[in-house]
């Protein structure tokens, strides 16, 4: 039930912000400070999420095969590889490290 609540709230919220952008008159959200906040918010959230999902197991910090996978993804990004290659590299390297360790 909790999961459906989370899905419902997220769906309504995410649709609402998409629609707001199309409906509000020009200029309302165009203030420089608001634009700066909106541009930087995903940077903070994505950085925190990347770190947590790589180095956290529940509430404990861990260093495991995923770190190697993410390093591979970072290398692919530096080499300007396409999106699917970046994600694929992370998956393959993580699986490979686990197979060798296990």
């Amino acid at each position: 039930m909790n999961i459906w609540i989370a899905i419902g709230v997220t769906a309504v919220g995410c649709y609402a912000v998409k629609l707001v952008g199309l409906l509000v008159p020009d200029g309302v959200l165009e203030r420089p400070l608001v634009r700066r906040l909106a541009a930087l918010l995903p940077v903070a959230l994505l950085a925190a999420l990347t770190a947590q999902q790589t180095f956290a197991d529940g509430q404990a910090l861990v260093l495991d095969a995923k770190a190697a996978g993410l390093a591979a993804a970072a290398l692919m990004l530096v080499m300007r590889a396409p999106f699917l290659i970046v994600v694929g590299a992370a998956v393959v390297v993580t699986a490979g490290v686990r197979a060798m360790a296990g």
């Binding site: 999961i3 997220t10 906040l37 918010l41 994505l46 970072a74």
Partner: protein
Amino acid sequence: MRAGSPTVRDVSEQTALADIRGDSGGKPDAAVVRDALGVGVAVGLSGFAFGVTSAGTGLTLVQTCALSLLVFTGASQFALVGALAAGGNPFAAAAGAFFLGVRNAFYGLRLSQLLALPRAVRPFAAQWVIDETAAVALAQPSRRAVRIGFAVTGLSLYVLWNLTTLLGAVGAEAIGDTEAWGLDAAGPAVFLALLAPMLKSVTERVVAGLAVVLGLGLLPVLPAGLPVLVAALAVPVVLWVRGRRGATADGDLRGTER
């Protein structure tokens, strides 16, 4: 799912070339469709990673597909299933996903001016206002091309993203232990791929660094889901510090002018 992926960069480079040739505004419809399909197909296929991740964290097939159909903005979807998997409170999990989706409002603002849609059509177009449709549409030289780019990217991506989500969720059940296949690395890799093109200047990098420190440092002490929200405070903190420095610099400048 993010504007700055290499595919999208290629698209804007192609558009820039068209501008140099002097035929901006006269870009053939077929070229717009080709650009749009390139992005729609490439990113649409990554719905597979979402389907596998979501099913792997314990969401049912119906819940996983509902997310792709109703939320349809990749970063928020990955964030939500990650937070739920970590045992987060549903409202904290939804809040993290929601804040990630806020950027779509700003794409909507830019697109609204360029698409010039009738008000009655806007509620239907809204669901497709995401990184990729904005990236393709904003790179087009004329209103006709903007509309074609938005519609083709939106349709191809929506159809494929939902199909591959379904396939991924079904596949995850067949695969069994998704961790043995390294599939739990797909989520953070997607976040990293979305984040990388955003780290353009020092401000972005400082915000990202501070958010990582807050997100990891608070993880052992705060309930699941909250550290990410606290990490978002990196934004006002960095802007405030830079604002103070900026104000001092402005003051100096005005001083010298006088």
